[in-house]
């Protein structure tokens, strides 16, 4: 048995390491943040410091004045895509995951492996065929088309994560419900779904963030339609030609800020969703 002094010392050491690690993780953001408000000379001269007297909003303002960018359309599109994608993927994928997790017969195993295919290729490789498919389905340049793309794209990730989690839920629960006469759909909705809270939360967060941040697919699918996402509008300013750090950091900051604000706002929700505490037994 460790003495309480040694335990406290170990805890302290662990805290120091964790703190150091956390700060290390946050440093790139610190740099992005402070340099977005500095003049170019200051960024080059000393990137880590904050010259309080010479801070400027110029970088941000300069890059904010983009014609052809309606805030309402931008945010409306981004939010709609994120919310609908999350909602549909969570529902469809958890249902799939339940079935795949509980059935190990050949057909189901092969389906499980078939879902792997979606994780093996970067999207740019299949983007052109997807465009052709959407064109045939008359879904090109529509939000629906982009939505379908996102749903299909995130299915593998969601399904695999859910399968992993559902695997820890005892099949006993299924059995007893079956005895009571429930069918699979009812078991899923009434029993399984309520128990997978933590993964629902984490997967929702990831999908929402990834959908929000994506700009390549929207640029290609939404292209010349009158819709655009916030991130599309922002990244238009960063091309292969721009490496003026003061502009780049300002633009990156603008791309990051909505998510950070939301994250800080919803932190309690997110984090408690992830550490809801075990409800088993």
């Amino acid at each position: 048995m460790k003495s309480s002094v040694r335990k406290r010392a170990n805890l302290a050491v662990m805290n120091v390491i964790l703190t150091f690690g956390s700060l290390l993780f946050l440093v790139p953001f610190y740099i992005t943040f402070i340099n977005a408000f500095k003049l170019k000379e200051d960024i080059v001269a000393s990137p880590m410091t904050i010259p309080f007297s010479r801070l400027t909003f110029d970088n941000i303002l300069r890059n904010l004045n983009s014609p052809n960018f309606n805030l309402f359309i931008g945010y409306g599109t981004s939010v709609t895509l994120a919310v609908l994608t999350v909602f549909i993927v969570i529902s469809a994928a958890s249902a799939c995951a339940y079935v795949l997790s509980r059935n190990r017969r050949a057909a189901y195993r092969y389906t499980y492996l078939l879902l792997l295919l979606g994780l093996l290729l970067p999207i740019q490789v299949i983007l052109l065929p997807i465009v052709k498919i959407l064109r045939v389905a008359k879904l090109m340049f529509t939000i629906w088309g982009l939505l379908i793309l996102y749903i299909g794209w995130y299915m593998p990730f969601a399904v695999f994560t859910f399968v992993g989690y559902i695997g820890t839920i005892s099949p006993q629960l299924d059995e007893s419900a079956k005895i009571d006469g429930a069918n699979e759909a009812q078991i899923f909705l009434r029993i399984i779904f309520p128990l997978i809270g933590p993964v629902l939360t984490s997967v929702s967060i990831y999908i929402a963030v990834w959908t929000w941040n994506d700009f390549i697919s929207p640029m290609i699918i939404l292209g010349s339609s009158k819709f655009y996402t916030v991130t599309m509008g922002i990244y238009r300013a960063i091309g292969q030609y721009t490496q003026k750090w003061e502009d780049v950091f300002a633009i990156l900051l603008m791309a990051i800020v909505p998510l950070v604000v939301l994250f800080l706002f919803m932190q309690k929700q997110f984090i408690s969703g992830l550490t809801a505490g075990s409800v088993k037994g």
Partner: protein, 295 residues
Amino acid sequence: MSGKNRKGTTFWNMVLMLPGFSIYFLIIILPIFMCFYFGFFDWDGIRDNMTFIGLDNYVRALHDVNFLTSLKITFFFAIPGTLIVNTMGMVLAVLVNGHSRMSNFYRSSFFFPMLISGVAIGFIWKALLSYSGVVNTLLSNWNVEAIDFLGSIALAPWSILLVNTWHDVGFVTVLYLAGLQAIPGDLYDSAFIDGASKLKQFTAITFPWLAPSLTSCVIFTFTGYMRLYDIVFVMTSGGPGGATETIAIQTIRVGFNQNRFSYGSSLAIYMLVIIGVITVVITQFLRKREAQLIS
């Protein structure tokens, strides 16, 4: 599993699976078949028509030195990357699992990189690591010689590995955290009463129970590394001199920039098969282990 209501079961299983799977089929499976199909032609991505050339592309890919080199480079990232990320992720999840305010802070900071898209991460780290970037400016302030993180053939791959690990650790940590919630608390209580050390608790309880999460996380990180594109593209574009050219970068470059869409498709199919086979092997192994441990 009782064979009683097999038909009923299958019906409901289909109902549950069909919506998700059909969209997935349309967006992923179908395009993959299309790529496979295109590989048999000589399409440049531009013409309205294409000529059938049979297995030419697929045979050529087998001799393609550039392709084989890019495979090697990709594995260089994937194998250490997967190991490091998952080890760190699991350890971190255990360490920050809790409800204290410090735990919240740690969780948030490790998770933070995930909020940002791969492209933005690439830009930020490029600003940090480029020869005249932030890190080297700091080094010069301390009178240390500047290090060419991104422009040297030897260092560039390590820089990419570093950035990707930084990005992915938070990702798996969150998933492992969720997995930790599934472990019944009383297991730990009885272990504590039995006098087990923290380490023993980890190996005997935590690690086995995280097996399902481990399976998914290993699959995600491994496949993520194998198809690495965004971060590399922004930071080095596969350079210098092809030192960081992953198969994804090469496939897209060949297929698009060099206007050889069909050949690029055949490379993509090979990529798929190689990553697929390895992943399937890993998955089967891990799933078997899962089944053993959970039962």
